[in-house]
């Protein structure tokens, strides 16, 4: 146990307070544009502070720091505790949050009613605040409180786009979410009942005692089961995913990006912390909960993709893909080994950088094709907005797991974890990984090809000309070449003409966001080793 002695170790606490204050200030700023700028400033500041924290932690040898708020001891005070893993997660979350907002900025101004836009950023601030708190907290009850704040903020950013669809989606989301946090609350209150603690470290000791003495065996199983189940519902593990496609598919671009990329992960990080800091992986495995998570994860991987395959609505398709990716993460936890958890943590990051990129680029592509969500109708949209097209392509390939991109190292570590596990894990996980790769390819590739193919109308004229050229060919043999060439030239000119006409305005913020997302995606895919080292170090001191 290290006491906070360095000034930098106050930063995580400042981050939480700063975002909270930022949220409180927002209602007083009527102008959405200014609110957005302030919000970006806060995110940047928080990100910067987390860089400092991470550097300081690494300089100090990758230790964990416990920080008592106001220096009050346990029952009255509140603790946060952070190590390298928490710091890097918080840092990446800030980056993704900022880029998601920039990437969907155009849609925010379009979808959210004027005059209410500042409130949207209020919710974003609260969301970041609660995510940071979930990452940093060392107290189960604080965790619960921020889960609720998170839920409310998340529901609000879904509903911010004013349509019947989003209201229905929000209500479903709210009910399922509250069910999840209710279960979580039941779990921790029972835990308090049998141990008398809410802080994580003393909890670990008393649970250890309970396990060795064999007392409360069944309640303990129920408690851990309830906590896992609550988290699983809130992060849309397969059979509990029904709220996700609606909420993520209908919300405005940035909201979908943030919900998919970050909000789902906040709870999982809390669960990982609970596993390591409270329950210990050994007890988890003994109670069979690891195996249950593994099975649910694997089923989710496959079923999420299968549902995505059937989906025509591009954003719902990406949303179902998130269900599959959450399956991956739970599968990593279910592997029950350090490698598995490392893979899960890395996948949290790789998915956090990839999915918002997909959502933002899909938003731009939808915009380019006249607000049409059917992915068949997106034909040719990438030609109008090539940057979005490239981002979607890279995102899709990364999800499939092509080397050099962020999805590949996850796949590498998941399979390593599986091979080092027992026979059951080896067989099930490797098969699931292979099948899931194929399924991912099956829905991403057609979408990618479709968006890079010129429109039907152009296509039809193409075919027609081609027929003509061919006919001419038959008649004149080699002499028709000049004719064919002429036709080809005319076609080329026409292509350009149309493109110039329909080109949508690509905003600077979108370019910045996409470039940073693309760069981080490749960075994760290529230089994953240092990151893995930090994660490994972080897990070892969790």
């Amino acid at each position: 146990m290290h006491e906070a002695h360095n000034f930098i170790y106050n930063f995580p606490f400042f981050c939480i307070i700063l975002t909270m204050v930022g949220g409180v200030v927002m209602p007083f700023i009527r102008n959405g544009w200014i609110a957005q700028k302030i919000n970006m400033g806060i995110i940047a500041a928080v990100g910067g502070m987390n860089v400092a924290v991470l550097c300081q932690l690494m300089v100090d040898g990758g230790k964990t720091v416990t920080y008592m708020m106001g220096h009050f001891p346990a029952p009255f005070g509140n603790e946060i505790r952070f190590g390298p893993m928490e710091a890097i997660m918080a840092l990446c979350f800030c980056l993704v949050m900022g880029m998601s907002i920039l990437g969907g900025l155009k849609d925010i101004y379009h979808d959210v009613r004027k005059g209410k836009q500042n409130l949207y950023f209020l919710m974003i601030n609260l969301l970041l605040c609660s995510l940071l708190a979930l990452i940093y907290t060392n107290d189960m009850f604080t965790g619960y409180v921020f889960i609720e704040i998170n839920t409310i903020a998340a529901c609000a950013i879904v509903m911010s786009k004013d349509s019947g669809e989003t209201i229905v989606a929000t209500i479903r989301y709210l009910i399922m979410s509250l069910l999840g946090s209710g279960l979580f609350l039941m779990g921790i209150s029972m835990l308090y009942g049998i141990t008398g603690h809410l802080l994580m470290v003393p909890l670990k000791d008393s649970i250890g005692d309970l396990v060795t003495s064999g007392q409360y065996a069944i309640p303990l199983t129920v408690i851990i089961g309830l906590i896992s189940l609550g988290v699983a519902i809130k992060s849309a593990l397969y059979p509990f995913h029904s709220w996700l496609p609606g909420a993520h598919g209908s919300a405005t671009t940035s909201s979908s990006a943030i919900l998919s990329g970050l909000v789902l992960k906040g709870y999982i990080i809390l669960l990982i912390k609970v596993i390591y800091r409270v329950v210990t992986p050994e007890v988890m495995a003994e109670l069979q909960i690891t195996n249950v998570l593994l099975v649910f994860g694997v089923v989710g991987m496959i079923m999420g993709s299968v549902r995505a395959l059937k989906e025509r609505h591009i954003k719902r398709m990406i949303a179902y893909s998130s269900v599959a990716q959450i399956g991956y993460i739970f599968m990593g936890i279910g592997l029950g080994s350090t490698v598995g958890i490392m893979a899960a943590c890395f996948h949290i990051l790789s998915h956090a950088f990839t999915k918002p990129m997909l959502f933002c680029s899909a938003g731009a592509l939808v915009d380019a094709s006249g607000h049409n969500y059917d992915f068949k109708k997106l034909r040719g949209s990438a030609l109008k907005n090539p940057l979005a097209g490239i981002a979607f392509t890279v995102g899709g390939l990364s999800m499939i797991g092509i080397p050099l991109m962020a999805g590949f190292p996850s796949k590498l570590y998941f399979s390593t974890g599986a091979i080092q596990g027992d026979w059951f894990r080896l067989g099930v996980v490797l098969t699931a990984l292979a099948i899931s790769t194929v399924l991912n390819a099956l829905y991403y590739l057609p979408a990618i090809i479709n968006m890079w193919t010129p429109k039907k109308s152009q296509e039809a004229s193409h075919g027609h000309d081609h027929g003509d050229a061919h006919g001419a060919h038959d008649a004149h043999g080699g002499d028709a070449h000049g004719h064919a060439e002429e036709l080809a030239n005319v076609e080329d000119h026409e292509d350009e003409h149309e493109e110039v006409h329909e080109k949508p305005r690509i905003t600077v913020s979108f370019v910045v966001s996409m470039v940073i997302f693309l760069a981080s995606n490749f960075a994760l895919g290529i230089f994953y080793q240092p990151l893995m080292n930090i994660i490994e170090q972080g897990i070892s001191v969790l």
């Binding site: 390939l397 499939i400 797991g401 092509i402 080397p403 050099l404 190292p409 796949k411 590498l412 399979s415 390593t416 599986a418 091979i419 080092q420 080896l426 490797l430 098969t431 990984l433 292979a434 099948i435 790769t437 194929v438 390819a441 099956l442 590739l445 057609p446 090809i449 193919t453 296509e459 193409h462 075919g463 000309d465 081609h466 050229a469 061919h470 060919h473 038959d474 043999g477 080699g478 070449h481 064919a484 060439e485 080809a488 030239n489 076609e491 080329d492 000119h493 290529i526 994953y528 080793q529 893995m532």
Partner: protein
């Protein structure tokens, strides 16, 4: 100097991307550009193949054990040579052929990029690098298969992607097993398994080998994963000729050679149940492919089924798990590439000039398209294995390797070779007979009024390749020497 190794890979990819953006409007500009890039790339590849052997260049270092690394060794030499030379030939052929397919900018961009990707497979120094380029190959060639973007092409493309990616993802599982039970992922002749770790886990690794064989075998059209290849025949003929008779399918063969001889090691696999499984599959494919070819009336599809059968000749030979078997497989890889690309060129020339696609429609072409049909005849006889033409010596090597191996199943394989040779004769000679001896009552003159040989851009590649096939067929020794050194693990 070793960093130069990445040039043959990166140059075409960058050039292809540049073309995708620039979209040259004039045909002449495009043709000079594409021909320039591809010829330059061939020259560079050949220079590197012959001057910088045994040097490694690491493009990206992921971790201590995993990296994207390039290296030229014996296998790279063969595959790189076949691919780079035939690519140039096919490029000139496509200049003419693609005039009637349209969308040439897109076609040539991906055509050029694919070359870089295939060179990447040839030069890869470890399994991860090969996996990367293997996946990229699927992506780069997909737009070529779906070129016409009509319903049939899209269906074929979809099938191609599903098959290839499924294969690669199961291959990846095997790579992961090798990573955990091997010393490293580099290609080392004789295998990389760490016997201390393997102890007790042999069956797991053999299962992994089966996954790798069938996974990478998808691109080599092994039964029962062959069906994408005939479907992919809807692609423009240069694609069928170059990619689906040479580059892509040979990439499959190449990958399997790497897996058998350079990763698991032939010694580990020889005599195991896994060897039996893969040999049975190849024997079935040999006979099955030939019989399907005989049943198919569409010329390009017939040739595609013939490819299915011939690829399994190579796989059968490789799966003997002996150096002699490797020589036989590599010999057939080279010879089949030259022969089959020419046969496809002929089929393409017929489609290009007349639009006819079926076997029955070529009657009397011996007179109307003399050059084309002579090339077809030479290469058909070569593929049948008539001594002293090309196919004879490769099949001879396969058969003698099979006898030497002493594996009882190998005799069944020889039987399959004989049956398949008979079928090959039937399905190719029928076309020749129709072309030279039309039915008496048919008015060939009016029917084939406008039919003539295509222009130089198409005939010269065909003539050159046929000539090469005769020359190599008569003097195969130097090539076989090279293959023997490679299979001896010396180069």
């Amino acid at each position: 100097m070793s960093f130069l190794l990445c040039i043959p890979i990166i140059l075409p990819i960058v050039a292809g991307l540049a073309m995708l953006i620039a979209k040259p409007k004039k045909r002449i500009v495009r043709e000079v550009y594409v021909a320039g890039v591809i010829i330059l790339d061939m020259i560079l590849s050949l220079i590197f193949i012959f001057t910088v052997p045994d040097q490694k260049f690491t493009l990206v270092q992921f971790t201590d054990t995993i990296s994207i690394t390039l290296k030229v060794d014996g296998m790279s030499t063969i595959f790189g040579m076949i691919v780079s030379i035939l690519w140039v030939v096919a490029t000139f052929y496509s200049f003419e052929y693609m005039k009637h397919e349209g969308k040439e900018n897109k076609f040539f961009s991906f055509f050029t990029m694919s070359m870089g990707v295939v060179m990447g497979i040839a030069f890869s120094a470890n399994l991860i690098t090969m996996y990367l380029f293997y996946e990229l190959l699927t992506m780069a060639t997909l737009p070529l298969v779906m070129h016409s973007m009509d319903q049939k092409a899209c269906a074929a493309g979809k099938k191609y992607v599903i098959f290839s990616i499924t294969g690669a993802s199961f291959g990846f599982v095997a790579i992961m097993l090798l990573m955990n039970y091997g010393v490293s992922l580099d290609f080392v002749y004789g295998g990389i398994l760490d016997m201390a770790k393997v102890g007790g886990m042999e069956h797991l690794l053999l299962a992994g080998f089966i996954l790798a064989f069938f996974g990478f075998g998808v691109k080599a059209a092994i039964f029962p994963f062959y069906s994408w290849l005939p479907s992919a025949g809807v692609a423009p003929t240069p694609v069928s000729a170059l990619l689906h008779a040479v580059a892509v399918v040979n990439a499959g063969i190449f990958a399997i050679t790497r897996v058998i001889y350079y990763s698991f090691g032939a010694d580990f696999l020889r005599g195991s149940w896994a060897q039996t499984v893969v040999m049975v599959a190849t024997i079935i494919t040999i006979v099955f492919g030939s019989s399907m070819a005989l049943r198919t009336k569409h010329i390009k599809r017939r040739l595609a089924y013939s490819t299915v059968s011939n690829l399994s000749y190579m796989l059968f030979s490789l799966s003997l798990m002996t150096p002699a078997g490797m020589v036989g497989g590599l010999t057939h890889m080279l010879f089949h590439s030259v022969l089959k690309i020419t046969l496809f060129f002929v089929a393409g020339a017929i489609i290009y000039k007349t639009g006819r696609e079926y076997v029955g429609e070529v009657e009397g072409f011996g007179r109307s398209m003399p050059i084309t049909m002579i090339c077809f005849t030479v290469c058909s006889l070569g593929l049948i294995g008539l001594p002293p033409l090309m196919g004879f010596s490769s099949k001879w090597h396969i058969a003698s390797a099979a006898v030497e191996s002493g594996n009882p199943l190998a005799y069944a394989g020889i039987g399959a070779l004989i049956v398949s040779a008979l079928l090959t004769t039937l399905y190719l000679v029928i076309i020749i007979i129709k072309a030279y001896f039309p039915r008496k009552d048919l008015d060939v003159k009016t029917l084939n009024k406008d039919v003539k040989d295509p222009n130089m851009l198409m005939t010269i590649p065909m003539i050159a390749l046929s000539a090469v096939s005769i020359i190599i067929g008569v003097y195969p020794t130097p090539f076989i020497r090279v293959f023997e050194t490679i299979a001896g693990g010396l180069f």
